[in-house]
């Protein structure tokens, strides 16, 4: 009886420990995210939070967007992120539940025996095993909760990444429209001049139609580019959770210039192992399954151990007090199925963790290569291709001055020059996306499918032609 009281007291004590935190585990998520994206997401749990976020978003959207403000807006405004963050609350409730004793079972039985005799049986049963394994179970749930925190931070990083990518793509697409308008203008002037050549009797229809064909092509290219700009803007709207008035978001005219220096990550793979949220989450997951495997091993023979107080009163007889121990005997199942499952689950977690780690290292190497290549390409366009094209145009103008070439060749050249500038814009966009991808691969999570959908540097030129 004394022992029982102690046990019950311990249970109450433990239950008291396992209460909800004030931040709901969000501070850690916020810290992890800020470390990786430079900004902390907002966890909106009340109407007031939402209202504040809304006000801040409105303020941010008064200025032309930058990559940073895009991330901030996404953190404040992306509903998917808020939904994900609420998984924290779900995980925490699990954690708290694990720290509380299962509710005692109360049973009451009333039997009417013959001759007006009534037998009443009362018992209170406690799950002792649950109480004994509670500290371990709590640790398991703690790990699970941490895993959820990493996942939540990972989700936030993902939202930031998508916000950046969408921002760069939208700015570039908008800029490309401008260049393709120039291409179209050059084709249009050629076409107009060709028509006047026909009127003056200096061109035949074939020559004129060739110019018209250029113009027709340029028109369709521009239409595609305009749609692309709309699509990229909508992608940005989704990433930033924009709707209604917010859709008037202003984009800057141009992408940011290439940075002067290149990031040279030292021990890139090591950094990924230490910082990457998916690696950390996988590790926590493996740890918690390891714990639960240990737990399963120690309790494999016992399924249920319940202790309870029982009293029985039968009419006309003195009340009988006593206790009841219920132990399920593992006659048919020595817990081997549970153990096998736990072991398999553990090994699964181990291999998952290893896989995540191997992939993370590979992704770091790949995204570094993409980053380097994109930088070199953009620099090549900026320092070689564009100046060269400009000099070619200058030479062509000199040749036009000397009547060595005609105005149509001059206009064709100006179209080519504009195209080289748009190739540069594409290369610059690819660089900024690669920069984002590399940061993600280093400290965030798998750059994932979003990276694959991003334009690869090599695909820039053909993509330009197809625009």
């Amino acid at each position: 009886m004394i022992r029982l009281t102690v046990t019950a007291a311990a249970a109450v004590f433990l239950a008291g420990c396992a209460s909800f935190s004030t931040d709901g585990g969000f501070d850690r998520v916020s810290e992890l995210t800020k470390e990786r994206t430079g900004q902390a997401p907002a966890y909106q749990r009340s109407a007031e939070d939402t209202e504040n976020a809304r006000a801040r978003v409105d303020e941010l959207l008064k200025q032309p967007l930058t990559a940073e403000s895009a991330v901030e807006v996404a953190f404040l405004n992306n509903r998917g992120l808020q939904a994900n963050l609420h998984s924290l609350g779900i995980a925490e409730s699990e954690l708290v539940r694990a720290g509380r004793l299962a509710n005692p079972l109360f049973s009451f039985g009333r039997l009417r025996e013959g001759g007006g005799v009534v037998e009443i049986e009362r018992s209170v049963m406690f799950n002792v095993l649950g109480m004994l394994t509670m500290p371990v179970a709590r640790q398991v749930e703690q790990r699970r909760f941490e895993e959820t925190q990493f996942q939540a931070a990972g989700d936030a990083v993902g939202v930031a990444v998508e916000a950046r990518r969408a921002f760069y793509s939208a700015v570039a697409a908008q800029d490309l429209v401008k260049f393709l308008q120039q291409v179209k203008e050059a084709a249009d002037v050629s076409n107009e001049l060709a028509k006047r050549m026909v009127q003056a009797g200096n061109f035949n229809k074939l020559a004129q139609m060739r110019e018209q064909a250029f113009y027709a092509d340029a028109t369709s290219e521009l239409a595609r580019a305009q749609h692309q700009a709309v699509a990229e803007r909508e992608r940005l709207a989704r990433a930033l959770g924009l709707w209604g008035q917010q859709l008037n978001v202003m984009l800057p005219e141009r992408l940011p210039d290439l940075p002067k220096t290149l990031v040279e990550p030292k021990n890139a793979e090591q950094t990924a192992m230490e910082k990457r949220l998916d690696v950390l989450a996988a590790r926590r997951s493996a740890e918690s399954t390891a714990r639960s495997l240990g737990l399963t091993k120690t309790t494999r023979f016992i399924n249920v151990l319940e202790i309870g107080y029982q009293n029985k009163s039968v009419s006309g007889e003195p009340r009988a007090n006593g206790y009841e121990v219920e132990l399920e005997l593992p006659l048919f199942d020595f817990g081997s199925t549970r153990l096998a499952r736990a072991e398999a689950t553990y090994m699964q977690a181990v291999h998952r963790t290893a896989e995540v780690a191997v992939n993370a290292r590979s992704q770091v190497r790949e995204s570094y290569s993409a980053y380097r290549t994109a930088y070199d390409l953009a620099k090549h366009y900026r320092d070689e291709v564009i100046p060269l094209r400009k000099r070619i145009s200058e030479e062509n103008l000199l040749r036009y001055n000397g009547m060595l070439i005609g105005v149509f060749e001059l206009l064709a050249d100006s179209r080519e020059q504009v195209r080289s500038v748009s190739s540069y814009v594409q290369a610059l966009r690819d660089f900024w996306i690669a920069d984002t991808t590399l940061n993600t691969a280093l400290t965030g999570r798998s750059p994932g499918a979003a990276a694959a959908s991003g334009p690869s540097p090599g695909a820039a030129a053909p993509a330009a032609a197809a625009h």
Binding site: L193, R196, A200, R399, Y400, G402, M403
Partner: protein, 459 residues
């Protein structure tokens, strides 16, 4: 004049290492005189050998010689040269003794000549003496009548000049390339009797065509027809010396054609008489009075006239041959309405300027930057405005008061009062027409839009 004694010292030193024969040969070589200036040198008055009346080579010079036991010895050096086609453009050519064309060789009927040819080209060469009667083995056809002259070697040609006339020399080894690179020169054989065919001034030049991509300097030797530089002595107008004479002078012009097309050489002003062909002097009864003489490919013509005061154009009458480099695929913009379009092009190409919609005369007046090392399509400022000429064009400048032997450009002609075309200042009244005639012809369906400049359309 400069020379390159040093080069021959070096050549001699190299030869010294070889055989005794070549050492003697090297010691006995006449000096090779080098001239790199494109300005016309005064005619070379003979101070040894038989006397003759020397010629003046437009933008060129005559090769000095030495007499060696009664033989006239010349020394030609075949070598890469840089030739200025006109101020602003230089070309990498192959030539002789520092210039392309090479120096004019002058000798006299009956002279025995010994011509040394040192090959400083990167490939073998020979010299063919075009139109000169000589022993077959001296005719200079590589592989056929003589071994090729390897780089660094000196060969000797020796023969007696049988007949006076106008001749040329050029390689007959890889000749397509070597002639396209500018290897050619004039060879004038004067009559033994100075009184025969005597003139007061005797000018010579060779016609050559080059294809040098604007901005580059070396001719495209594979070109057959689409040349862009048409030259007198590898010079184009306004880089061609004028033919200067005193009024009343008897003037002879000798033209050789080493291009791949014929050139109708046309002279304004006095009529001339064709007095010489490749075959020699034309008997007076057979001479043709002309104002244009067509000089076919590989031919020579000599014509003579009595100079009349004034500035008289002399040029190839193929109009593209009196142009500088031009794009042969450039669209004709004449009559094309540029309104609105020019402004839009300027937005795309800021320094753009509409040209050619009223013809190409703009080109003669405008001085817009053009590629490096090329020449404007039309150029040359005359006393009355742009001359809109280039290529095979120069002037015969005849003055009343020139000294004998004065070949300097006398500047533009000062026309006597009332001898220059002038603007009609009277009233522009309707001409009287025959009854029933209409002022403008009716348009038929084939009539295109005729844009007359008097109807201004806002340009």
């Amino acid at each position: 004049m400069s020379n390159r004694r040093n080069f021959f010292k070096t050549a001699g030193a190299v030869a010294l290492g070889a055989t005794a024969v070549s050492r003697v040969g090297a010691a006995s070589l006449p000096e090779a005189v080098i001239q790199t200036s494109p300005t016309m040198q005064p005619p070379l008055i003979p101070n040894t050998g038989r006397p003759y009346n020397p010629v003046a080579t437009l933008n060129g010079w005559s090769l000095p010689w030495r007499m060696n036991n009664g033989v006239k010895e010349f020394h030609l050096v075949a070598e890469p040269v840089v030739r200025e086609f006109a101020p602003g453009m230089k070309a990498n050519l192959w030539g002789y003794n520092g210039s392309s064309p090479g120096p004019t060789i002058e000798a006299v009927e009956g002279d025995r000549v010994r011509i040394f040819l040192t090959n400083k080209l990167p490939e073998h060469t020979t010299v063919h003496w075009h139109g000169i009667q000589l022993p077959s083995g001296m005719d200079g056809v590589g592989g056929m009548t003589q071994p090729h002259i390897p780089p660094g070697k000196t060969f000797v040609y020796e023969y007696t000049l049988l007949r006076s006339g106008t001749h040329m020399y050029h390689p007959h080894a890889d000749e397509m390339v070597q002639m396209a690179m500018g290897m050619m020169g004039m060879f004038i054989i004067h009559p033994k009797d100075q009184r025969q065919m005597r003139v007061d001034r005797d000018f010579v030049f060779l016609l050559a065509a080059y294809d040098i991509e604007p901005g580059s300097a070396t001719p495209r030797t594979a070109e057959m027809t689409d040349f862009n530089l048409w030259t007198f002595n590898s010079r184009t107008f306004p880089g061609i010396d004028p033919i200067v004479a005193r009024a009343g002078d008897r003037v002879r012009v000798r033209v050789g054609n080493l291009t791949m097309t014929n050139h109708p050489i046309h002279m304004h002003g006095p009529h001339f008489t064709v007095t010489g062909t490749d075959g020699g002097w034309i008997p007076p009864a057979a001479r043709w009075p002309e104002v244009t003489t067509d000089v076919a490919v590989g031919q020579m013509r000599a014509f003579e006239f009595d100079a009349v005061a004034g500035d008289w154009a002399i040029h190839c009458h193929k109009s593209h041959h009196t142009m500088g480099p031009m794009g042969h695929a450039v669209e004709n913009m004449i009559g094309v309405d540029h309104r609105g379009v020019a402004e839009r092009i300027t937005k795309l190409v800021p320094d753009y300027m509409a040209m050619g919609d009223k013809g190409m005369a703009d080109m003669g007046a405008m001085e817009m930057p053009i590629p490096d090392n090329t020449l404007p399509m039309m150029t040359g400022q005359g006393p009355f405005g742009p001359m809109e000429m280039g290529g095979m064009f120069t002037a015969v400048k005849v003055r009343d008061d020139l000294k004998r032997g004065d070949y300097k450009d006398p500047g533009w002609y000062k026309h006597p009062q009332g001898t220059v075309a002038y603007e009609y200042a009277g009233e522009l009244t309707q001409p009287s027409r025959a009854p029933g005639a209409t002022a403008t012809p009716s348009r038929d369906t084939m009539t295109m839009n005729v844009r007359k400049p008097t109807a201004h359309t806002g340009h």
